[in-house]
Symmetry: C3
């Protein structure tokens, strides 16, 4: 249930159950959200609900959505912000993917689409990520919107003088209609969203979340394989540190009959929390050290980069880990005809260049899908369904 | 009297009195300025007038305006450039503020205003200032204009190879319609304006001027308090180094019955030049070490940041100065109901976060007013009244 | 013969002669290029032709144009990319210059031209060059196009993580319609063009090429002097390291009765390869140490900057070289009335500031011409003639 649905339904204790809430003071709330006074609410504290009280006012805002909702054209989008992959369930993902498909058509066919004309997006990047920034800025401009850019907010801005993130957000929201933020600290995006009265999209916050990457990964699997239920996915490479594979595993757990294979050097194995989560959701998974066997069974081989910086001075361990599981022509030769190789990019040599020409090499199409997903989210957050 | 008024009025010796002039060769002058030959002019040298002769031609251009002028819709703006707060007197300020009010309406109501469509603004920042840059770029884009950005011209550009500012300006003016410049050297904006045949706006030149900040401060006081004559203003914090408070004191001197209180640690007291200037203009001022008493009397408490870099290795002095005058709930409790707290931002802890929720906390509205003032100036410089 | 002409003409062995070809796999080819299978082609290897075979497919793409071609309005441009000055012969240069003249009119007269509306240009700068970047971005925006900017791709992007240029290009081409690239490695632009399915413009690749600078230099000579055949040009300064003068010498060799004078300190003399090339093309040249005499004869005195970094620790040699040939009022005094002084900028003191006011000082007009040439190329690559 979103803050908007909230505004039109009766306030009952039950209506707040099973939902995570992030709240802020009603006077700050944009759109049509009602004012809520602490004294009128029976506040029951669930794990999935958060309230924050400031003075005599309660701050309230949804970061999760309930099951009964409308995706009708013209309806408001259920989310105010895009902060983490957990905000999305399979129904809303499916609806977003439909919009992304429309965006593919718009991008290909109509030069100079103007549905976001007059909207201004601020890209507040506290950490450089040219790829992600350009993808968002392209998405905005493909829909006729405009962009305010900071390529390296950390070095340049008032942050260097000691300004809090909250103060920066309060200033920047005065200059724009939506903020896309990349930050080096886990949780920064959530803090920004709680402060801002305009939508915030998390474009990666440190070791935390990178939800648009997770969405484009799932979108790519559906586009390439044609389904999400019943798929077999091999996650390969650095599974301990890669937030991409962790988010992907999390999202895949929303689908039925999924089987996940973990293929990684010993030092960067998938951590227990994700394994336990998958088990709790009834998702089958197994670890394997045989990439060839896994590749022959999977619909998706999802390769990732081994990050040198994780190994400190142990260059020997890095080199060993790095060379262990390479996707090359041999791996291709055992893969099924309909299967695909994915990679969040950038890659080094964990996928050899000879793979690029194979139609099953999906990673550049995957990167392009990021554009469509971001176009869809910008459209939804600014205009609604 | 501006170069434009100049072009339509008779050339009399008297018409040049009491005005500061910066001049350049008439053949360089854009718009409808007449050509002036040295031999046709009785050149009388006042303190408030400057002529520069190159070869046989006199360079002439107004940096100040005279009293009898038109603010009629469609008329040219009196200024070619915005270089320093001293260019503005209360009549032109008042007229600019009216335009800024229109800009508030445009920003709120009409998505995709296009009055500056086809105009190109170059932001030439030799020193990073994300806040100021985004504010200008937002202003331009909110009016349909386009922007060429340099986030850090000092490091990147030909400046690193030893090019003069004048050469850079001559190149950049070929690519754009207006230049917004931030520079680390006092006087750089004036040099740029003398070179350029397109308007230049000073977005801060080192310890020198930052006129749009001064304008937005005065605009905010008028918006919040409803008047400028007769107000009482407490300037708090670093009064020795803050160009903001110095410019504000200067501008306030244009109004009647103003009273200014200086509240600052001993090491960063307001300098004598401003005090003497205020006295010479008949403005009452006094120094105080009692923030509570000042706060209870003032319409505006204008807090500023103590800048650590001013104290060198004397961390002890910095810490003492920094903690001395904090605006917190206690200060709020003695302030009048209609009074406001202002701050040029960024802030550290000289205003506590608990103040933010009080309706008298005006600093984020003040930052937003920067947008409206900049929209107004861009409109006026490019299109006229 | 371009890939486009290729698509409409019969495939004969002779049609491939005397042309340089860079090829890529037909399935990658944008526009209307036909698919070519190796087995259907008699492949004859000329020096001026290059084929690259990948698997069973031949990659093919023109980087040169043939003589019989159309410059009719609406026809496709003969080039897919702008990589090096050698791609242009005098017929196509002349046609491009006509378009550049139209661009002068567009820039001056019609505010908000929209012929490139809906097109997105990515400026991928691996090495900072504010001047060149702003010139391209202004060109795009003056025609209604939009821009994605990277001010310093080298530091920021995935390149820092070890991604290949090819992978970066494949991602960025998904977000834009044309790529303008500056790189620190010679040959990088060609590699980018071979990878990309959208046009690539080389905005300088290390010591290699900077073709738009070469074009704007020739365009400036024609605009200023009124002709290219029969002109006398003095190239002054650092002739050993300046890629500008090398490219200019190369392009001037395409015209008749040209005479070139080399005036440079001993340590930075023009290299033998260019001298031999000029001789082979029947272009007269001579070396001189007498700037005054050369200046009195030439139509164009093309001055360049002596680059300190070329001298290492030999500051004495640098200072000697630097002071040797200065264009000042004395030089002006012997120059012909119709002659001009040019410079690629930035300048230090190799042209004194007193020269700036002389109508024969053409270097700022030359910089502005860069805008028109770039507008023309963007228009041609994206829309055709």
């Amino acid at each position: 249930m979103s803050s908007c649905a909230f505004s039109t339904s009766a306030l009952r204790e039950t209506s707040l159950q099973n939902h995570e809430w992030i709240c802020r003071k009603p006077s700050d709330l944009k759109k049509n959200c009602i004012s809520v006074d602490v004294s009128h609410l029976k506040m029951t504290w669930h794990n999935s609900m958060r309230w924050k009280q400031t003075g005599s006012r309660v701050q309230c805002r949804a970061l999760d959505v309930e099951n009964n909702r409308a995706f009708l054209k013209g309806e408001l989008f259920q989310l105010d912000d895009v902060i983490e992959a957990q905000q999305f369930d399979r129904e809303i993902l499916s609806a977003i993917f439909e919009v992304a498909r429309e965006m593919e058509t718009i991008e290909k066919e109509s030069r100079g689409n103007q549905i976001l004309k007059g909207f201004l997006m601020a890209t507040l990047f506290y950490e450089p990520s040219t790829r992600t920034r350009l993808s968002f800025e392209s998405a905005m401009k493909r829909l006729g919107g405009e962009v305010l850019t900071t390529e390296n907010a950390r070095e340049f801005s008032s942050a260097a003088k000691g300004e809090t993130l909250e103060d920066t957000i309060r200033t920047v929201e005065g200059y724009s209609d939506i903020i896309v933020m990349r930050h080096f600290e886990s949780g920064a995006a959530r803090r920004a969203a709680m402060t801002a009265n305009i939508p915030v999209i998390n474009a990666g916050d440190g070791p935390g979340q990178h939800p648009t990457q997770a969405l484009l990964d799932v979108y790519t699997i559906e586009r390439e394989i044609g389904k999400l239920d019943g798929i077999k996915v091999g996650l390969v490479g650095d599974l301990a540190n890669g937030r991409t594979v962790r988010s992907l595993a999390y999202l895949l757990a929303k689908y039925n009959d999924v089987k996940i294979y973990f293929v990684s050097p010993e030092v960067v194995k998938m951590k227990e929390d994700i394994k336990e989560y998958l088990t709790s959701k009834g998702i089958k998974w197994e670890e394997s050290s045989d990439l060839m066997e896994v590749a022959s069974k999977c619909d998706v081989v999802y390769q990732t980069r081994i990050q040198r910086e994780r190994f400190g001075e142990r260059v020997d361990l890095y080199n060993e880990a790095r060379g262990k599981y390479i996707v090359n022509r041999d791996v291709l030769s055992v893969m099924q005809k309909h299967a695909v190789v994915m990679h969040p990019l950038p890659r080094l040599d964990e996928i050899t260049v000879e793979v690029d020409d194979d139609p099953r090499a999906a990673y550049f199409r995957q990167a392009k899908n990021g554009l469509f997903i971001r176009m869809a989210l910008l459209k939804l957050l600014l205009l609604g369904w």
